[in-house]
């Protein structure tokens, strides 16, 4: 009995310290992986198309409602891609060209004193998603980017949705990149109840415009 009490007295501070350490904020941490698409963006076809536009997402939670401005919990971006409709040697649908600029304004995502800033180097693939609820069209595309804060080169993919006009409250966008500051970075909303097509998050500003090309 005495031994058990001693053991408890010894282990309790260690346990408290471990819990406190685990709760400590990691200043340069990136978003934890929150999952993959649940119901959409599984079926694709190689057809020529174009998606352009940009805007704002308030993630988390990634709904159509803006977070209070003083929280600085929002992301802004511009993204443009042209899919060739051709299939490459590796079976991927090839992109003609494109570009991505992404800024994460969340205070916890500042790296080296600046907001997290991702800038595309090359767009290597672009495929049309055929299993979404995006009324005007959806695309899955990506390639490589530079993490401007660190100089890292990362692979990335985006889930891009045009669900009519206006873009706010209708269109969606989500991104996954690795490595960003050595970790997986995701702004994805894998919630089937969120319009229009998970895992893209709903725009709180801006617009995405999809159209086929010939």
């Amino acid at each position: 009995m005495f031994r058990l009490r001693n053991l408890a007295l010894l282990t309790a501070p260690v346990g408290i310290a471990l819990v406190a350490w685990s709760c400590e904020r990691q200043p340069n941490a990136v978003a934890p992986s929150i999952g993959t698409p649940l119901a959409h963006f599984f079926q694709f076809e190689c057809t020529p198309f174009k998606i352009t536009g940009g805007g704002r997402i308030d993630y988390p939670p990634g709904t159509a409602d803006k977070n209070p401005p003083s929280t600085h919990i929002y992301e802004t971006f511009g993204a443009h891609v042209i899919a060739s409709g051709q299939v490459g040697d590796n079976g991927q649908c090839l992109a003609d060209k494109g570009s991505l600029e992404w800024v994460d304004h969340r205070p916890d995502f500042r790296i080296n004193g600046r907001p997290l800033n991702l800038h595309s180097i090359e767009i290597t693939f672009a495929e049309r998603a055929t299993d979404t609820d995006c009324s005007d069209g959806a695309g899955h595309w990506g390639g490589t980017l530079e993490v401007k804060n660190t100089g890292e080169t990362a692979d990335f993919e985006v889930f891009d949705c045009d669900n009519g006009e206006p873009g706010v409250g209708h269109d969606g966008f989500g991104i996954r990149a690795f490595p960003v500051n050595g970790q997986l970075y995701e702004v994805l909303c894998p919630d089937e109840s969120l319009p229009p097509a998970e895992p893209s998050c709903t725009l709180t500003g801006g617009n995405r415009q999809f159209h086929p090309t010939h």
Partner: protein
């Protein structure tokens, strides 16, 4: 005689009708365009003239970006973490779309007379077969203080006087286009108009004249 007249009339219609229809459709296609520009800070005074960072949509569409980590214009404005992003495209068949955004972190104007720790300006325009529209959704100011008073979520075109300086327009929005074949919008989140009094011979103030402009967080888009 009458038959000749009818023949001539039909001939004339045959010439004129195609001419009157064809240019209209060609002209309609020619007018398709998307434009966008964004900038973080613009100062225009007799002693300083600077815009930074600045991005403008290239002809033919796609995307353009610019950024500045730390901006200081002639002691009038300091700003951190400024980004300007524009993107868009115009297609004769599917219509045109343009989006621009300007974002900044901490901003101080006129030695702290106006300050904010977050500016987002977003302008979006689109045109398709159903019409044209623009909005500034997503534009916000965070922890804005003007002349010592907090200003939360200012409505579009909120004007506040700045004694001895001029006035400021917050969330300034101006629109262009007819809403059917074209639409455009400019949003300036902070627009300071610098003024000086016009003094009469007897020392009385006759009015004010504008001597400069400072704009922070500007986004413009249009589609037609």
């Amino acid at each position: 005689m009458k038959i000749d007249r009818v023949r001539r009339a039909i001939g004339l219609m045959g010439l004129v009708l195609p001419m009157s229809l064809a240019p209209a459709s060609v002209a309609g296609q020619m007018r398709i365009a998307a434009t966008a520009q964004a900038y973080g800070v613009s100062v225009s005074t007799p002693t300083a003239n600077q815009t930074s960072p600045y991005a403008v949509l290239p002809t033919g569409g796609a995307m353009a970006t610019d950024q500045g980590q730390s901006i200081d214009v002639a002691g009038l404005v300091t700003a951190q973490d400024a980004f300007a992003i524009v993107s868009g495209d115009a297609d004769p068949e599917y219509g045109s779309s343009a989006v621009s955004s300007a974002t900044l972190g901490a901003v101080s104007l006129l030695n702290g007379l106006i300050s904010t720790d977050g500016v987002v300006a977003v302008a979006s325009s689109s045109r398709d077969a159903t019409g044209a529209s623009s909005d500034a959704e997503g534009s916000t100011l965070s922890n804005l203080v003007v002349n010592g008073a907090e200003v939360a979520d200012p409505a579009p075109n909120t004007r506040l006087d700045l004694p001895g300086v001029g006035y400021v327009i917050l969330n300034e929005q101006s629109r262009t286009g007819d809403g059917w074949s074209s639409s455009g919008i400019t949003v300036n989140m902070i627009h300071v108009v610098l003024q000086q009094p016009i003094v009469g011979l007897l020392g009385q103030v006759l009015g004010y004249r504008t001597v400069g402009n400072i704009i922070v967080g500007s986004a413009t888009s249009s589609a037609n």
